[in-house]
């Protein structure tokens, strides 16, 4: 049976990641980056790799990784979500799943030491099972085409590019590769449009192996993103609770009003449930459970909405201050709303679930 709890070593991992983020990526620093160049925080990334060794958690030991698994990756993502940290951890985890899926864990060695971040070149909004291969292959092989709205690619060194006849790797600094940053709703995870113009590539998988590696990686993205969303939602809940306890109006803490309490109680219920759903998805992914596609779709049908609700409640219950640029609530709102679309919206995943659990749509009239 799936283990939905956190083991002691997972709790210890959480503590160390949280402590590092508190020291090196407080929200004030994240906010100042949003006002600055909006780039990924690769100094923080180097600390995650160097101090904690968490960039290679899911990389097998024979390739220099920690040989842990996706349950641990999910715990790290929860903390990164809680801090809206601008690092390409989710993208690297998805690419890790893709490379393991086609037996090329050997390409992950550099990731384990924080170098040469791999990323799967698909639009961030891609949902599992939707084939979209805008990149054409010509002899060489060389790739040409444009992939729009890719997350975590700007700091990447290794691009994994799905094409009709297989999965290719392209060096990010190869000739013919251009990445143009997108002014993104979530400035803590800046997307980019990638143009390949006769870019030299290497094919690492073909046929069904390549196809399922890509699909499984997108499913992994849906499953893992849920933990990040739980982290976002938990921060919003905790921060709001702290605020309404000390904010006085009408001579009382606003948190003593039933309208406020009940809204936060409902949010707590949702976050509690989202955590169980996210743990289930992470455990399925970690153990190779055949229920993983269902768990991933369930995760995005549920947890994305919870994170958005949490961020919206956070803004609302902070009142005026929650609507300002200087307060961090908007960072979480933008992260939550973007993440709710990433790897497929709730609606898209409900449609996938309809197929997975045999609840078919009505026949067209």
């Amino acid at each position: 049976m799936s283990n939905l709890r956190y083991d002691d070593h997972e709790e210890a991992l959480r503590d160390s990641v949280r402590a590092l983020l508190a020291a090196y990526s407080p929200w004030q620093r994240v906010l100042s980056r949003v006002d600055g160049d909006r780039s990924y925080d690769m100094a923080l990334w180097a600390r995650l790799a160097g101090h904690l060794g968490v960039t290679g958690l899911a990389v097998p030991e024979e390739h220099g990784g920690a040989g842990a698994g996706f349950r641990e990756v999910a715990v790290v993502l929860e903390e990164l979500g809680r801090a809206v940290a601008p690092v390409p951890y989710l993208g690297a985890a998805v690419a890790t799943r893709a490379l393991l899926g086609c037996g090329r864990g050997d390409l992950l060695g550099p990731l384990a030491v924080g170098e040469r971040v791999p990323v799967l070149v698909v639009p961030f909004a891609t949902s599992p099972g939707v084939p979209a291969h805008p990149v054409a292959v010509a002899d060489g092989p060389v790739l040409s085409g444009v992939v729009a709205g890719v997350a975590d690619a700007l700091p990447a060194g290794l691009l994994l590019v799905p094409a009709d006849d297989g999965l290719y790797v392209v060096d990010a600094d190869a000739p013919g590769v251009t990445m143009r940053p997108v002014l993104s709703l979530d400035a803590t995870r800046t997307l980019c449009d990638i143009t390949f113009a006769v870019a030299p590539a290497r094919r690492i998988a073909t046929g069904p192996v390549a196809g399922s590696a890509v699909t499984d990686a997108v499913t992994a993205g849906a499953a893992l993103l849920a933990s990040e969303q739980v982290g976002v939602a938990q921060w919003c809940l905790d921060t709001t609770v702290d605020y309404v306890r000390v904010r006085y109006q009408f001579g009382r803490p606003v948190g003593s009003f039933q309208a406020v309490k009940h809204r936060l109680a409902d949010l707590w219920v949702q976050v509690t449930e989202a955590r169980a759903v996210a743990r289930y998805a992470a455990d399925c992914l970690a153990t190779g459970d055949p229920d993983t596609p269902l768990a991933g779709s369930l995760a995005q049908a549920y947890c994305g909405t919870v994170a958005v609700t949490a961020a919206e409640v956070c803004v609302q219950l902070h009142g005026g201050i929650g609507f300002t640029w200087e307060h961090p609530a908007h960072l979480y709102l933008k992260r939550a709303k973007s993440a709710a679309i990433a790897f497929g919206s709730a609606d898209r995943h409900r449609t996938l679930l309809a197929g997975l659990v045999d609840l078919p749509a009505p026949a067209p009239n």
Binding site: F257, K261, A265, E273, A274, V277, V357, L359, P362
Partner: protein, 386 residues
């Protein structure tokens, strides 16, 4: 003792027990012997149905007995006794009380009910007015209780009374066990909006209870009752279910079996409910894993709130999905069901019965306040009654 060693020990005890006791023999004798062997509640002390073993190993013992087809104690027939009275007696009862009551309670020879709610004390339970007045070594009890399931079958009841009308309301309460056969105890069925009567009203008129039936100190009944109520929430919402094991399974089956009823709008509703139901199921599973690991969280309140909301929503969708058929009900006559049947009968019945889910065992409004104050630590509203 490690878990593995304890599990091995328990397996050995069950095997030895089954060597000496025939599961196909007399049911009551078998259950009594199982209690005496410490295999009833393994976490209880020796002599009180247990072996001081970790509570999380109970499912293992139950499974070993189920495997050989041994009779169980029909736990659903005595859910108040097993779920609420037993943990309260274990924690607050005297040695004499525990020795007298726990064995026949566990075997199902004596059914228990709960005399807590009153017409004027529902959510505000501590406002109860049923009085107990000392008379020598006895107490004389007068008052009216309501929403008492199984009162018409019960041998004993756990009872809250006011023994000090002057003290602040939470401090003037005393907890008793009430002898349901005592003169002056009158049980009347209380018919509910489904037409049946799962519950009763209980009238207590000059009921004489010996002081030996008191549980906990005089005036300390509210603290004792909190043990009971804590277990009530777990009892109502914490059962582990397989996927689609609850109300959602009925709706999903109707959707699959009846393609002609489908519409795009209801498809959306069905899928949303399926997702919410599965999320709630996993939450209950996680809560259970935490409880079994000796790490109980406050999740039981979440489970209860979601269970009620989902049951109501899903049964409502099902009636709507059935359209004209959803207008036909099966039975309005008054029955006295042995146990609530939340998933049975027609969609209309399930829809109506589900209205109770957000009222019984703590209204959803009260639960939200409890979550806000006890889990989230938000300040209480100003009160005029303390």
């Amino acid at each position: 003792m490690s878990d593995d060693a304890a599990a091995e020990m328990l397996r050995g005890r069950v095997a030895a027990f089954l060597d000496r006791h025939d599961p196909a023999g007399d049911r009551t004798a078998f259950l009594r012997a199982r209690f005496d062997a410490g295999l009833a509640w393994v976490h209880h002390p020796v002599g009180l149905g247990g072996l001081d073993a970790p509570r999380r190993l109970q499912p293992l013992v139950d499974a070993e007995f189920a495997r050989v087809g041994a009779p169980d104690n029909r736990p659903r027939r005595n859910s108040i006794g097993l779920g609420m009275a037993a943990p309260t007696l274990l924690r607050h009862g005297t040695p004499t009380q525990r020795a007298r009551w726990l064995r026949p309670l566990w075997t199902g020879e004596e059914i228990w009910c709960q005399l807590f709610s009153e017409p004027g004390a529902g959510s505000d339970l501590a406002g109860l007015t049923t009085r107990a007045v000392r008379d020598g070594t006895d107490w004389i009890v007068d008052g009216q209780k309501v929403w008492t399931s199984m009162a018409h079958r019960a041998r004993w009841a756990i009872l809250l009374t006011r023994t000090d009308p002057v003290a602040p309301k939470h401090r003037g309460i005393t907890f008793f066990v009430c002898d349901m056969t005592a003169p002056g105890v009158q049980v009347r069925p209380l018919r509910q909006l489904t037409g049946e009567a799962e519950f009763n009203e209980v009238f207590l008129t000059d009921v004489r209870l010996p002081d030996s039936l008191r549980v906990g100190a005089v005036g300390d009944g509210w603290r004792v009752a909190r043990t009971t109520l804590m277990h009530e929430r777990v009892a109502i919402g914490g059962r582990p279910l397989p996927r689609e094991g609850g109300m959602i399974g009925r709706l999903a089956q109707t959707w699959r079996d009846r393609p002609e009823l489908r519409s795009a709008g209801l498809h959306h509703e069905v899928l949303q409910s399926w997702v919410r139901a599965e999320a709630a199921r996993l939450t209950a599973l996680r809560l259970r894993q935490q409880l079994l690991a000796g790490d109980p969280g406050p999740e039981s309140s979440a489970v209860k709130l979601s269970f009620a909301a989902l049951a109501q929503r899903i049964s409502g969708i099902e009636v709507e999905l059935l359209g004209g058929e959803g207008l036909r009900h099966d039975d309005w006559t008054m029955h006295r069901p042995e146990e609530p049947d939340l998933l049975g009968r027609t969609a209309t019945y399930r829809y109506l019965r589900a209205r109770g889910n957000s009222i019984e065992g703590g209204t959803s409004e009260i639960l939200r306040t409890i979550i806000a104050e006890r889990v989230l630590g938000l300040p209480a509203e100003p009160r005029v009654d303390r």
